[in-house]
């Protein structure tokens, strides 16, 4: 229930909307009940008067019927409009709220989540919260107000009838929802999880289709999706069956109430304590009054799903980012030298530290390389410098300022990265380039692409810069994607440049032209290169050799042979064995 309080805080900005929506709903409900009760009374009274041959004023009740019919129709329209508008506004703001909390977590804290799972949270789980507002919050208030009024109305006729009505209304409006909530909790929780699992399986199945096909695993994936689909449906079926049950129970409550009312009221009519037309009125009133509580059991049944959704959202929102942004204003960075001093770092759950006692100084405008085998901690150095993670000990300084004192976004504004894996967004080439500099002119884009040696290729495409590149960049080869990344880095035009295996997996010609492009890119910038290949090492001023997170050697290129005699000389077999 703690979740409900937290959710209420999120709902608070929409209080005025909710009030308006609730008022409209109450009005509509009362108009409907009035309409039914008045119509029942009217017919019976007219018949009685006709049979007795006495005159009666039928204009007033007719007007009441007309008025409530109009209010009912208009009120329902207004109520739906207001409540839906409010819900969608609320949901839109919740998505933004969720993304705001999600963004600082990337990439360090999101590693354990599949994108399908996160997608399910931002889509289905947030959508599930609308249930709380439209189906729980508003109807509960409406039911509270109207049931009170009904009780008063009935009490004016007969206290016993009022008691009877209240008992059944409470049965339908409190006991049933309570039962439904208890029954819905477990399947609701599972639904939230299975929806995420299904999305995950579908994403794997769609994006990984090629490998599944070759490895003959498509059938298994299809069955996995089918199985999840069935699990999902099984829980929905249980919820649905319960819902049918509560719906039947509501009907039964209303009708039993009516039945007992007749049982109690018929003797009253006989004893002339109750005018006969009032019996018709009370009968129809009773049936109509249950509309006030009818939506509640289903709403409370879905409460489990909504609260599970809320918990899944709060789980992300409450995750503490891997770094803490500084409280004070960020210092202005005026120089761009980089200093690692005694840097040590371990990933959570890791058995041994990834980095230990790393010292490295790259003066402004100079270039350094970090060389080492896979897993030696090279990429971690980048992750620390980019403030994706925070150092455990030691410090990293840029321009003399500890990067912990600099707002991470401000820091990254000064750093451009060319890495092996660049995400190409599901958009045009132009839009993918504009990510790096939103205001860039077409001419600037073209210049960057020329330097990155990719302009000619883009220009040769029928749609040029407006060519759509798939979400996984499938239509561009690895080398082309890498060159887009270089063009992005050029556009970003940052004083610090991080290169992560920039020529990995490229053929010789591409590698050479890319190196030429990088040479242009590196000019006048502070460059840090990480690599396990020799290419480009002759361009740097100093080299740090890492082995299992520790410094193995440092100096100019000449330190490599002795430092890595074991590893790098073994390069020979594939190169020198013929």
């Amino acid at each position: 229930m703690r979740e409900l309080l937290r959710l209420w805080r999120l709902f608070r900005p929409y209080r005025a909307w909710m009030l308006l929506g609730t008022l409209a709903a109450v009005l509509t409900l009362l108009a409907n009940v009035t309409l039914m009760a008045a119509a029942g009374w009217f017919i019976a009274a007219m018949a009685s008067a006709g049979a007795a041959g006495v005159a009666m004023n039928y204009f007033a009740p007719a007007a009441l019927i007309r008025g409530s019919a109009i209010i009912r129709t208009a009120g329902r329209y207004g109520e739906r409009l207001v409540n839906h508008e409010a819900t969608f506004r609320l949901i839109a703001s919740l998505r933004v709220w969720f993304y705001r909390h999600l963004e600082p977590l990337a990439p360090a804290r999101l590693q354990q989540y599949h994108s399908g799972d996160i997608l399910s949270r931002i889509r289905a789980d947030i959508d599930a919260l609308d249930n709380l507002y439209v189906r729980v919050l508003v109807p509960v208030v409406v039911a509270l107000l109207s049931v009170t009024l009904f009780g008063v109305f009935l009490a004016l006729h007969d206290p016993a009838l009022a008691l009877l009505g209240l008992v059944f209304l409470l049965l339908a409006g409190v006991a049933l929802p309570w039962w439904a909530e208890a029954r819905g909790r477990a399947p609701g929780q599972r639904l939230a999880e299975h929806e995420g699992a299904l999305r995950t399986a579908v994403i794997d199945g769609v994006q990984g289709m090629a490998e599944l096909t070759v490895y003959g695993a498509t059938e298994r994936q299809a069955r996995r999706i089918e199985g999840l689909s069935e699990q999902l449906i099984a829980d929905q079926a249980r919820i649905n069956s319960d819902q049918g049950l509560t719906q039947a129970a509501i009907g039964l409550c209303a009708n039993l109430n009516l039945w007992l009312l007749l049982w109690l009221a018929i003797p009253l009519v006989r004893a002339e304590q109750l005018p006969p037309p009032d019996l018709a009125m009370l009968a129809l009133f009773t049936l109509a009054s249950f509309e006030a509580v009818a939506p509640l059991p289903h709403a409370f049944q879905l409460l489990g799903r909504s609260l599970a959704a809320a918990r899944r959202l709060f789980a992300i929102v409450d995750t503490v980012p891997a770094i803490r942004e500084p409280d004070g204003p960020s210092p202005r960075i005026e120089r761009f030298d980089i200093t690692f001093a005694g840097v040590g770092f371990s990933y959570p759950d890791a058995e041994r530290p990834t980095l230990q006692g790393i010292d490295l100084q790259v003066p402004e405008g100079r270039r350094a390389a970090v060389v080492g085998a896979t897993g030696s901690g090279k990429s971690t150095l980048f992750n620390l410098l980019l403030r994706f993670w925070s150092t455990d000990c030691g410090s990293i300084r840029v321009g003399g300022h500890d990067i912990r004192d600099i707002d991470s976004e401000t820091l990254r504004r000064h750093i451009a990265v060319v890495s092996q894996h660049t995400h190409l967004f599901d958009a045009t080439i132009r839009e993918n380039l504009l990510v790096a500099r939103p205001g860039a002119t077409p001419l600037e884009l073209e210049q960057a692409c020329r330097v990155a040696q990719i302009h000619d290729f883009i220009a040769s495409l029928p749609e040029g810069y407006d060519t759509w590149v798939g979400e996984t960049g499938v239509r561009l080869s690895g080398g082309q994607g890498r060159r887009i990344a270089v063009a992005r880095a050029l556009l970003k035009d940052a004083p610090i440049l991080l290169l992560d295996e920039p020529t990995e997996g490229l053929d010789a010609a591409t590698e050479r032209s890319l190196m030429a492009a990088l040479d242009r890119l590196m000019q006048g910038r502070t460059v840090l290169l990480i690599t396990h290949r020799p290419a480009g090492l002759d361009w740097v001023d100093q080299i740090l050799v890492l082995d299992q997170g520790r410094e193995r050697a440092r100096g100019d290129a000449s330190v490599i042979p002795e430092a890595t005699a074991a590893a790098l000389l073994e390069l020979a077999p594939t190169r020198h064995d013929d």
Binding site: A39, I43, A62, F88, L212, R412, G505, L506, T574, R575
Partner: protein
Amino acid sequence: MSVNAWLKSQRPLAGHALKGAIVLSLTHALLAVAQAWFLALILDAVIFGGAGLAEVGGWLGWLLALLALRAFITWLSERTAFTAAARVRAGLRDQVYRHLQRLGPAYLSGTRSGTLVETLTKGIDDLEGYYARFLPAMTLTMVLPLALLMVVLPLDWLSALAMLITAPMIPIFMILIGSGAEARNQRQWKQLARMSAHFLDVIQGLTTLKLFGASRREVEVIGRISDDYRASTMQVLRIAFLSSSVLEFFATVGIAIVAVFIGFRLYGVALPVPHWLSVPDIGFLQGLFVLMLAPEFYAPLRNMGTQYHARMAAVAAAEQLIEVLDTPPTITPGTARPTLPTPLGVRFAQVGFAYEPEREALHAIDLDIPPGARVALVGTSGAGKTTVVNLLLGFLQPSSGHILIGDTDLTTIDPAHWHAHLAWVPQQPRLFQGTIADNIRLGDPGADLEAVRRAARLARAADFIEALPRGYDHPVGERGTGLSGGQIQRIALARAFLRDAPLVILDEATANLDPESERLVQQGIDDLAHDRTLLVIAHRLATVRRADRILVLDQGRIVEQGDHHQLIAAAGLYARMTAAYGDAPALAGVTTEE
């Protein structure tokens, strides 16, 4: 086929449940007539007959029985309707996903997977309302009002006439208002799918956005997209709400007319009708009964109005489903399952391929991968290497020429049968949700842990896997959460080792590896090559020197083939590429080896 017809044609998937649901809701409605009759009897007897509990006790008993029966039927019909829709949903999800599999990776590479994911999850769930509620409501609308007219007509033809005249107004106005809604609704659904696709893209690219300082900018984009979605949804809903209000209004007017006609006659006031029309007399019993039936008469029509947007949501979702289902596979899978020789040989005879007419990616190439040989395919990026691999994997079929396995044309072979003979390590392998062991077992789910370990050892992956806290049970996500590119590569390689296939295709298998790991993996590949046919696609020429045959691809043509020495001697493209790569790479200058 129209979307409507398509939706209806899926009914058999629901089996008998759909008919059951319709029969149950019809029974439920007819029992309401009986209930109204007993209620009218009781009220009439009490109000006009001066009856007490003793006189009406029997009817009260009937009433109680009816109430219980109706409650039971309500529950049963809910369940049945759900089952009907659930069967359709499960059936369709399976059908659509399997169709995607037939369309294959070639189709998927040209679509937004985010949209497909939305269609397969939310889209299919949106069909629920159509089968569970709209279809039963529609059948009820066609049957129930007529049945009620039949009941009312002998009691009071004037009320029946009033109902008959007002009822058609409802569907007419609905259609008038609803016609504009359809297109809007369609647009709105597409927007929803786009929104989801955008979210997936942002989630998967969040780190890149962050690097460019664009991740906080995205807050506004997400706000705007969500708000646009709200605005367009409200456009659709406004129409839906308006139409149901109009409907409600007409239903109310209808009930009011019936009530006024009955009330005036009971009171004895002359009705404002032409005097040649002789108005039938009516008693309180009939009057009250007819009055209670009037709402039941309009109820199915009103209900249809409410379910109308269940139908619209279903229509929109169905359109996406039809789009997928109507896409014909670009390849016609073969059916033959011949016994293929081990190791396998492959021959391309005059194979040409064009992604689009006029833009040939391969020009009638001939190439030979002899059984048991180690063949390398090299060429600059864009030369057509990936196309050759996709043809060989059967994702594409040649536009001209033949790919021959022994002397069987590849297009005649059942793809699943063919794939069973392949192991493939793509350029950027994907890890699937599950443990590392699950991922290695991808091609052989029954393999025991010992076999998995052996494959991992051969791929030089065992050391780092065993160093993980949970070892082979370490859960991995789509991008190999916490694993480096080289480690993912080696897991994919272990997958290929475990597969134990006669033809192995390695697309840049040693990219992302440091020299030490590369050397180790290379040894693993040497082990793997034993008794197998190996096709290696390489950018870095150093890794292909020991190949028995090197095929040099340039602009969709095989320009050279031979072994390393022959090609160097020929002084062609290969020799030039080798020279360009630097036989004396930068580092070689500092290693004393050279």
